[in-house]
Symmetry: C2
Subunit: 156 residues, 2 copies
Amino acid sequence: MSQRWSPETPHDKAVMQLLQAIRAFSDAMDRMHGGMKGDMEMNATDLATLRMLIMREQRGESVSPHDVARHLRISTASTTKLLDRLSASGHVERRPHPSDKRARVIVLTDESRATFYRHFGDRLHDMRGVADRYTDDELALLTRFLGELGEVLDPT
Amino acid sequence: MSQRWSPETPHDKAVMQLLQAIRAFSDAMDRMHGGMKGDMEMNATDLATLRMLIMREQRGESVSPHDVARHLRISTASTTKLLDRLSASGHVERRPHPSDKRARVIVLTDESRATFYRHFGDRLHDMRGVADRYTDDELALLTRFLGELGEVLDPT
DNA sequence: CCATTTCGCTAGTTTAGCTAGCAATTGTCA
DNA sequence: TGACAATTGCTAGCTAAACTAGCGAAATGG
């Protein structure tokens, strides 16, 4: 519906092009993740879990099995199996939660983090290459925009 | 590894923040798609197929079952089943290819497109709301950047 | 302090991916 | 042109990974 608007002003047109670029970009990210899952011999969900753990540890937040389930929007039962897989393959460890005896804390192993960055490295390099061509002000603008967009789409 | 660089210059720092924002944004998109799959009572792959078909038809390109398989990085056998599902639920139609008698052309039904935009509409509105706060030049910059990034990640 | 909720798990079922291989058609090149 | 290889989409059968239902242990709150 909204897509079939004939844009009246240059601004509308620019917005429409941007929305289209966002979709294409998000799709490219999906496909990159699809490629990585092949390279690392993992399925998409397991890989998404690693990405989540890496993001969370960068923010200094701890992650429970429940958090994983919520993040991936799968059931806690499926999450148990997922963590069994990742645990068996040495990617994560289940540690006891310091204060809640029911709960667990999921932590990445060093090997897993290293493997991830080894496979992700090339893409990261490419992305950095693109970003390097922009000025600091432009980078700040891009960061701000993506942040706002993420906030609107998924107000965690 | 590259993540653990201590950024030396303001530029490096800005780049790093941007890369982090990209990951967070891509993750937010994933989770939005996860939400939509619940709303539309479809699985992630089927929904990704609809998104692909919508993007392709906007570009005026036709889509074969093979294209779907390549795009989603799944086997053609899985694609057959996927199209069976989408066809049974009235989302797509398999039309004969005009010149190649082996091939098919996959087209979205009008109902499917309408349903998609009905569920996607709110998010689209929100995203437009964010984009509207930027000037035309800024929008152009954002569009260009996302395009370049997509190109690097997934040089289709 | 008892009722309710939360957390992670097990068991069993269903879904959706995979490999292998097929017939029909198309492309290639001796 | 005729033979041979490649491509397209499909079926059959198998496996992986999601789901629902429900459980015991721990935490929370009237």
